[in-house]
Amino acid sequence: MNAVVEVRDMRFRYPGGDGFELSMPELTIRSGERMACIGASGCGKTTLVNLISGVLAPESGQVRLCGQNLNLMSDAARRSLRRKSVGMVFQEFELLDYLSAMDNILLPFRIGGERAGTPERARARELAASLGVAGLLARRPRRLSQGEQQRVSVCRALVTRPAIVIADEPTGSLDPANARGVIDLLVEATDRVGAALFVVTHDHSVLDRFEQVVRMDAGRRAGA
């Protein structure tokens, strides 16, 4: 299987930060693979997400996304690659409350200056149907339940047919039963499209759904 994300000898420090350093000697996420990342608050999980998705650039080492070395790419090229190859899911769903569910799903096309034409809309409808929110596409997020918002955000993450879906603590504010439901949703959705899945979570009860688990401790990979 092809590597979607490859990290080698990566080090990162926030400019003017408080001395926190993230160090990741090696990390590989292959196509269609499911990986979880766990660790205490402040251990660098979200920083790792930002580094492998190209939001942040490492101080040293190498990060490759879909075979492309992010260190060698311009900021604009990294953003473009992220938009096309990475689907992001957030803890609070981060849907734009002034757009309909449909427009939220199509947002990656809109912000990329691409036309959200008939094929893209068809793709959005297909995803919405597969996740059970097809009848809610005209609604604004505030008129959707939390579960429905979560599903719409997963649709948004998948609409560009990304190579990897990265979910940053998608179960952070959920009880164990609902957390399990969200993880199942992400696993099923990514399996259906063949995308890799990288999930940052605190919830150890859902780790059995992942093929690999990365443990983080104070900015370092503590084990797998």
Partner: protein, 390 residues
């Protein structure tokens, strides 16, 4: 990128319709208010100067030059001392121009009744939509706006307003026959009722009609009767309409040369005649002659001072609004931090967020400007009406 930013900007503005509408209204008001004030002021100044420029000379009793000119050019009623027909006769006797008596004392249905002669209509180039200039006592011609607003036309009648309805010794309201309606002029002539100067005196009660004293039957009305003189009570009911039956009964109790006029509009033959007339009349201690254009320039210098005050107020208004807008934008930017972060994390170009904010701001400012433009255009259309009310 612009398409995406514009899409988000427009949708955000639409989704927050109330906030957007308030901002648009603020931008529109900030633009339209100073613009409208300037427009009205300029139209007002223009109306004053144009009218004054078309009025060669004005004579009247000594007193306020402004009152004298405004009563003649814009028919503003004032408490100024009237002149008399002596002044009219004196100016006419100099044979240096045409002297047109003007009476701006009375009202009918709230509109000023202007007593003058047909020379006035000729000077102003007044054209008749229907009818003609009054040829008999008790007839009147309506300005176009008076006719339109009151729904009156040739053949209708209109009453003058009585100076004191509780004093029966005061002259009664005169019922006037409308014999003409003027075409619109866009000036003060549209808002008045024109009568012959003699009719103005009739409204004042100086020229009046009543039953002949020797036919008065009510003994209470007969105060004294001698072989040479008959004195009757002021309470004797006067005629309130000039008809073929009553017209013969109208008469004067005063010396015709002492009949009052508000002012005399003078059209000199030439520049030299104007100078001679000016000199001649201004030698008098009780009368004066002025050039309306000069008086109006003086008046406008006060108006221009007000204009500069408006300019300062406008600048302050725009500055305070700009500061408030800046504050709102800053707070909005902060309030939408989560949205900005999300857009950047899902791959939005770095310039998309500022562009989105900028476009939304421009859309709102644009709508405000359009609204201000529409309001100003409407105002420009109705400006003559407003100016006529000022």
């Amino acid at each position: 990128m612009i398409g995406g930013a514009a899409f988000l900007a427009v949708h955000h503005a639409r989704a927050n319709a109330l906030a957007s509408a308030i901002l648009v209204a603020c931008f529109a008001l900030t633009t339209a208010l100073p613009l409208s004030a300037r427009l009205l002021l300029e139209r007002y100044a223009q109306s004053l100067t144009e009218r004054a420029a078309a009025t060669p000379l004005v004579a009247g009793a000594r007193g306020s030059r402004f009152d004298l000119v405004l009563s003649t050019t814009h028919f503003r009623r004032s408490q100024m001392q009237p002149a008399t027909m002596t002044l009219v006769d004196r100016i006419a006797g100099l044979r240096l121009g045409v002297a047109i008596p003007m009476s701006v004392e009375h009202t009918a249905r709230g509109y000023v009744v202007v007593g003058t002669g047909i020379e006035y209509a000729e000077l102003r180039g007044l054209r008749f939509a229907s009818g003609q200039w009054p040829t008999e006592l008790g007839q009147c011609v309506l300005g176009s706006r008076v006719a339109r607003r009151e729904g009156l036309g040739v053949g209708d009648q209109v009453f003058s307003e009585q100076s004191d309805v509780y004093d029966i010794s005061k002259p009664p309201a005169i019922r006037m026959n409308i014999v003409g309606v003027l075409e619109p002029t866009g000036g003060p002539d549209d808002d008045v009722v024109f009568v012959d100067i003699a009719t103005a005196w009739a409204i004042a009660g100086i020229l009046h009609g009543h039953d002949a004293p020797n036919t008065v039957r009510d003994a209470n009305m007969l105060l004294q009767k001698t072989k040479d003189n008959v004195a009757i009570s002021g309470a004797l009911i006067e005629y309130n309409e000039v008809t073929p039956a009553t017209i013969a009964g109208y008469h004067l109790h005063a010396d015709p040369s002492q009949l009052p006029v508000t002012s005399v509009l003078v059209v000199p033959k030439d520049q030299k005649s104007a100078t001679l007339l000016n000199t001649e009349v201004n030698l008098s201690k009780t009368e004066q002659m002025v050039r309306p254009s000069e008086v109006m320039d003086e008046l406008l210098s006060y108006v221009l001072r007000i204009k500069s005050v408006i300019d300062v107020v406008s600048v302050a208004l725009v500055a305070s609004n700009a500061a408030l807008t800046g504050l709102i934008l800053m707070l909005t930017y902060r309030a939408r931090a989560g949205e900005r972060r999300t857009l950047l994390r899902i791959g939005a170009a770095r310039g998309l967020v500022p562009l989105m904010f900028g476009l939304e701001f421009m859309v709102l400012v644009g709508c405000g400007m359009i609204l201000a433009g529409v309001a100003s255009a409407v105002l420009a259309r109705v400006a003559p009406d407003i100016v006529s009310m000022l």
